[in-house]
Amino acid sequence: MPTVLITGASRGIGLEFARQYGAAGWRVIATCRAPARAEQLQALAHDASSFIVHALDVDDFGRIEALAATLAGEAIDVLINNAAVMSSHEGFGETDYDRWARILHTNLLAPMKMAEAFVEHVAESEHKVIAMITSRMANIPTARPDGLVSYRTSKAALNMLTKIVAGYIEGRGIIAVALSPGWAATDMGLGVLAYHDTAGRAVFPDKAPDELINPVESVRGLRRLIENLTPEQTGAALLYDGQPIP
């Protein structure tokens, strides 16, 4: 029975990963900051045979190390660094640098810490995959000044990090990829649709909620990608439908 570890599994893409892998018969290790409040996740754990929920705030690096120690000796086939935070809208001249630092810590540094802490667990497994959940907002040529500098820079840097990590762990047969779920209808995806700039204009006036991607379809695509990864794809950034992100 293969094992998947997912961070940020209380809702959104993380929760959907947990649901689908559980239904597919995988052993699921789901983490979130407050398991007691993660009702949907607890319901999945209750119904499934091999499903455990651990409390983990990925910004607490001591806690990451403790969890890795708790799980010592256990093979983890797929590590999914999904937990992340979105920017608030900040216009030019309004940049909140303390918040930017926190977003970089969660979206860039924490995935690296998770990779460092769990590389042995992944190396012990059969599938050997470390996945970083990224975003097409990381793509520089198509980037727009939509007030989401901190999120965009964190994901651009994460794609760079994925390429570097891929090189570090290649010798151990582990594949590292950055996977974009697309603009999905999750709390994060729907949340940015409500953003307005300082002039009161909608930041994304041309995007309607019903145009966002169904998280079920997105995660189905991501799981298919993960299942079919080849060593040549290590270090790449891929969209849920398999397209490379330019």
């Binding site: 630092a101 810490k113 460092e116 590389v119 520089i140 727009r144 500098v149 090189g167 570090y168």
Partner: protein, 238 residues
Amino acid sequence: MDSILISGANRGLGFEFARQYGAEGWRVFGCCRDPATSIELAALAAEAPGRITIHALDVNDHGSIDALSASLSAEPIDVLVNNAGVYHIGERFGAIDYDQWTQVLRTNLFGPMKMAEAFADQVARSMRKVIATLSSGFSSITNARADHIVSYRTSKCAVNMVTKLLADELAARGIIVVALGPGWADTRMGWLSLEAGGNSADMIERAHSITCLRGIIDGLKPADSGRCILYTGADIPR
């Protein structure tokens, strides 16, 4: 008279920018953390009092950036050069120093953004209207390898994103925003790469690097805004 403000102007490429633009007769605002110990910059300023001036600036201290901008509030600044930066090697997987990484992001990523926010007005009232941030061939994801350089690579990749965002943001004000790759120059920062296994025969002279970058800055058009340009004129691969 064209004017240029350079952060980290006390040594390395920053000083070379000051020296070459000073020789061209530009008004040079040479900025560094500790003017009192910046001997070469002081000597340069002494050659052209009032035209080449030294200013205290720590790009890690946003209060310092705001104070400098306030002191230069009426000045037009044709070219803002975000040069101050830090670089580390030997960042091994399994032993990453997260405090160091955080500091590198603060200097190399936040610094240029804060400088742009603080000096956009001065740049906008100039003739040339250029904001140039020093980036690196190391910012290329395509060319990235596992060579124990993590914080620098991620910070420069992120600052390339900032360059594109600022280019679009400031286009309406006529400001051209670019990132510049100086190549592997023979500065103290560059010498560090020798310890990481580089071949010194591949290094270029700092004077040559800056001469090339000056040519690029001189020829910038609005269509170049958002680009990450190597000293050779080619784009840094993404």
